[in-house]
């Protein structure tokens, strides 16, 4: 990677960090999700500042083209994240369903008492 690419990534990482902090402060992002993204943002910032880390790890893992390692990690992380969201979504769907049942039963009770 050229140095200008590193500067670009550094700027993007810092921008992302700034955005996350802002969203948390506006209470638009739950703290539990912000931890995740803050970690990612920090990792990106560190890698862009000290690209030797990536080179060194890639060499240790016998990866010839260093960006591959970066992309591999990124894809792996995003996959796990998507799975986590599907899990959360299933749970929320289930909870909404139970709430709907409770509401309907309560509504019926209320109307009967009138």
């Amino acid at each position: 990677m050229s140095s200008s690419t590193h500067i670009l990534i550094a700027v993007l990482a810092l921008g992302a960090l700034f955005l996350i902090v802002r969203l948390v402060r506006l209470k638009a992002l739950k703290a539990k999700y912000s931890i995740l993204w803050l970690t990612v943002g920090t990792a990106l910032a560190v890698i862009s500042a000290v690209p030797q880390i990536l080179d060194w790890t890639a060499e240790k893992l016998d990866i010839w083209y260093q960006p591959t390692l970066f992309l591999l990690l990124a894809i792996g992380f995003l996959l796990l994240l998507a799975m986590h969201f599907s899990y959360e979504l299933s749970r929320i769907e289930n909870r909404i369903r139970i709430l709907v049942e409770e509401i309907s039963l309560l509504k019926e009770k209320l109307e009967k008492d009138d």
């Binding site: 369903r97 709907v100 049942e101 309907s104 039963l105 509504k107 019926e108 109307e111």
Partner: protein, 231 residues
């Protein structure tokens, strides 16, 4: 012994009055529970007008969700015996008594359209789909059902209790319900019933969605391990 009819209804204001009064006429002591699945045509007003128990959901959850709510209500109220009945008028109320008497020697009774040579006609693709489902259910439950997607069923208290918590909420709920009941060791029996043509409303099945639901059902089947039945 208190018996209840669970009628899931989604925009069935047209056919519902007839269905309710027919059941009332034959079985005045049955509690009629109409579960309004987020209708926009005043289905719940009709149910209230007729003095039925009306459970109206704030938005559409599909027939499985509506049924589960019906079971939940029955469980809370301690109903001994419940049957599910379509709001579109395709079920024949005169068949209810034979369905209920079947419960004397089983936990769940299914009214089958195909158990005898009755005149219920279905399209080609639906027929193929039904055959496949029949095959799957047979492998899984070890029991032969001629009509796995029938919505004309009766249940005893223990099954009501199970379904109040675990009734499948996605489309093709009727097939999955058979599997769940069988897995929990309940005795299911099937009896032939006559069905009518739909008196109003649109059939809820769409062919292009079938593949998706089939895949989903396959996953459900694969994910659940077969338990030995209790005797």
């Amino acid at each position: 012994m208190e018996t209840a009819a669970i009628i899931p209804a989604f925009n069935e204001a047209e056919s519902l009055p007839n269905v309710i009064s027919e059941i009332r006429g034959l079985f005045p002591d049955h509690l009629i529970i109409v579960v309004d699945d987020g209708s926009t045509d005043g289905t719940s007003d009709i149910a209230k007008e007729f003095g039925c128990v009306c459970l109206s959901m704030p938005f559409n959850l599909g027939i499985g969700g509506a049924l589960r709510l019906g079971f939940r209500y029955c469980m809370d109220r301690g109903i001994d015996c419940a049957y599910q009945f379509d709001a579109d008028g395709q079920h024949d109320p005169t068949q209810i008594s034979s369905l209920l008497s079947e419960l004397e020697h089983s936990d769940m009774a299914v009214g089958s359209r195909f158990a005898t040579d009755c005149s219920y006609e279905v399209g080609q693709s639906r027929k193929a789909a039904m055959n496949f489902l029949r095959f799957l259910v047979r492998i899984y439950t070890g029991q032969r059902f001629t009509d796995t997607s029938s919505g004309f069923r009766a249940f005893r208290k223990p099954v009501i209790k199970l379904f109040a918590k675990e009734y499948p909420v996605e489309y093709m709920d009727s097939v999955e319900a058979l599997l769940i009941a069988s897995k929990n060791g309940f005795k299911i029996s099937e009896i032939p019933v006559k069905m009518r043509e739909r008196s109003a409303g649109q059939p809820s099945n769409r062919n292009f969605r079938l593949i998706y639901y089939f895949l989903r059902l396959l996953i459900v089947l694969l994910a659940s391990t077969h338990k030995k039945k209790k005797d």
